[in-house]
Symmetry: C2
Subunit: 268 residues, 2 copies
Amino acid sequence: MDNEPITSIHNPRVKALAKLRKRSERDEQGVFMTEGYRPITRALAAGFHFDEIYYSPEWFLGSNEQKVLDDAAKAGAQLTRLGKEAFAKIAYRERPEGLIGIGKQWHTSLDDLKLSKTPFLIVVEAIEKPGNLGTILRSADATGAEAVIVCDAVTDLFNPNVVRASTGVMFTTPTVITDSASAIDFLRTHKIRSLAATPAAKELYTDVDLKQPVAIVMGSEQFGLTDTWLESCDLPVRLPMAGIADSLNVSAATVAIAYEVVRQRNAK
Amino acid sequence: MDNEPITSIHNPRVKALAKLRKRSERDEQGVFMTEGYRPITRALAAGFHFDEIYYSPEWFLGSNEQKVLDDAAKAGAQLTRLGKEAFAKIAYRERPEGLIGIGKQWHTSLDDLKLSKTPFLIVVEAIEKPGNLGTILRSADATGAEAVIVCDAVTDLFNPNVVRASTGVMFTTPTVITDSASAIDFLRTHKIRSLAATPAAKELYTDVDLKQPVAIVMGSEQFGLTDTWLESCDLPVRLPMAGIADSLNVSAATVAIAYEVVRQRNAK
């Protein structure tokens, strides 16, 4: 750990790491970057093994970073120290925290999911913004959704901004990348009712029984759900819209409904 | 409207407009930019007067833009056509929609607010990310919050990304920029109970009576609420957190609680 740090931003390894911001590069190498104290800590706690950790004490914000490095090393990660500038070159946060982990991508399939007796899932279709997908993962973790099924993905799960916005819960929230037809099949096979928020629905989401096996299905930011989902949906519902707008941000609508699932399921 | 368009990106007017991305420039001139079809349409519908509209048909996405231009002109806006590149220079969206409005900033004070008999407000403290403030405004509109009180603002209301994320509801949702002490005073004077989400609270937000006059108070992304608010808070509550994380995204937590207010108030 006290080896000479890599200080040059032209170092080939630094250049190769900076390229991981590109999806094609990540997918080709089958790896991704996790940046920051909280996501890396959560990943390690979840038993995730980083192949490499790059660190730069000049950027550390707290005093517990050394423990993170020790834990990662114990779990088999190779540690490499970078100079301040070289670290900034590979970081994607505006204010880097001096910790970046490189680990292998993984893939969870629908068949991998272990469902409870009364499943509660979140399904998203063609989400475009990494920040929204990350926030939805965070809401899934908070509300105890058993899995997030990402259909016809536009943003990839291993986009650094998904990892960041998820604050590391992606390491524990089972997330499946698939297509809509497979997801619809899966829900039917497992008798999980699909609930879709659409302004045209008559029933309020709060008037529907959410204690039954249910999947909240949400569409893309720009276009909402496609007809594929709207036509196959078991429970069309609407959220009350009191103002001038006819829709909410997709992650806001998701969390509002997800917490209604929690409320109904926890009610005495 | 059929004058020669401004095509040079070096045109002094184009350069001056591009500068409006900077807060200091906006504040000095007392103006701000609204970009895109939906926010501009909503602004006009709300009776907002743009001083100027810049447009570039090369970027138009739909076929109703001419009507927006006509409406804006009727309401007194001066229309200026820009070339494709010149427009891209002043736009802040990745995919511009060919419409940008320049209008005067306004300021709503606590005394300006017209409260109902049982007010429902949203208060945010030191929010940092424009996207979060915009999303909270959108949730306020959807849930019928009477006003949003922004305390100790880090991001300014007229930041282009707040305007964008709010999808134009900022033109109809009364929003007050003030300091925490004034907001706390205001709530006390009007007997509005402050509800703060904090992991340390015993009571669930769903177990509290939200039909009473209430203000949801949310802290900053990084630090949560300061002691000023936590100590003065009438109703400390918590959201169930089922997973590994101990907090939600601030706009997610806000909308979850706001929709519980709606649910309780609409319940028979």
